[in-house]
Symmetry: C2
Subunit: 157 residues, 2 copies
């Protein structure tokens, strides 16, 4: 009986090792990336997202394109573990609460640390495409959403 138990335990150990997933590189071809409209509950105007990858611990960086049509923007929001983005095309705006709006162009980078309230969007007459890196840790959302950005705030200098 004891021998049988040892045999079963050994077998179980082998089965568990086989189930352990060896980490491997993953490719996310553009052909398989899906463009969806961003949730209108958190955005003003037409905004689209194209998710590329989701992070798996210990990595934190989720990668996604955000396509802002002219005049469109996020609501005011904050990122519990921070977000950074690089503008890959066009022209847009970003504003931290209590500071002036900043105009962005292709190639500009932005880092928004945890808990800093801000918004971003396309410019009045141009689109902005950004590649956004939203950092994700277990048990925390990547964004907390607040009120819309008013036209007055959007058009401010």
């Amino acid at each position: 009986m004891q021998k049988y138990l040892i045999f079963v335990l050994a077998l179980a150990t082998v089965a568990c090792s086989a189930n352990e997933v060896k980490p491997e590189q993953k490719i996310y071809p553009i052909a398989k990336q899906v463009v969806t409209e961003a949730n209108p509950a958190n955005f003003t105007g037409k905004v689209y997202t194209r998710g590329v990858w989701s992070a798996k611990a210990p990595m934190q960086a989720n990668g996604a394109f955000v396509i802002f049509t002219p005049g469109s923007r996020t609501y005011w929001h904050e990122h519990p573990t921070g977000q950074s983005f690089i503008v890959t095309e066009g022209e847009g705006y970003v504003q931290e609460e209590g500071k002036p709006k900043v105009v962005l162009h292709a190639g500009d980078g932005v880092v928004c640390p945890p808990g800093v309230k801000h918004w971003h969007g396309g410019s009045k007459d141009k689109m902005m495409i950004q590649f956004a890196i939203s950092e994700k840790v277990p048990g925390k959302q990547t964004a907390i959403w607040h009120e819309p950005v008013s036209d007055e705030q959007y058009n401010s200098h």
Copy 2:
């Protein structure tokens, strides 16, 4: 004397709070980003980098462009906390050790988990620009470098 001490302590507390840096959003305009040649000790051929931002805990994502001229590539290497990248322009290759080389085009994403040995580079006759997110945690390097990628490996199918 006691009143004086309380006053000094109160003053010190105010001074310390003033020194506490409130997190704020940072902009990295393209005009201030510097292009440098990648360290020839870890790359074959001409490769350039354009750093955009460095992460500050709890954020982990460093952001930088890597510009591979045709035929150029990294040495074999691994990332202790992983690296992901999006191809922003051109055509290139990526290969995980023990697997076939994969051809990449603009818009394709790649996630390389911690400890997976791989290389990436431009294609034989085209450049590849990638925006790379190297995840950084305190006390760990972002990359561990190994041997060069041979011409046979580079030209493999």
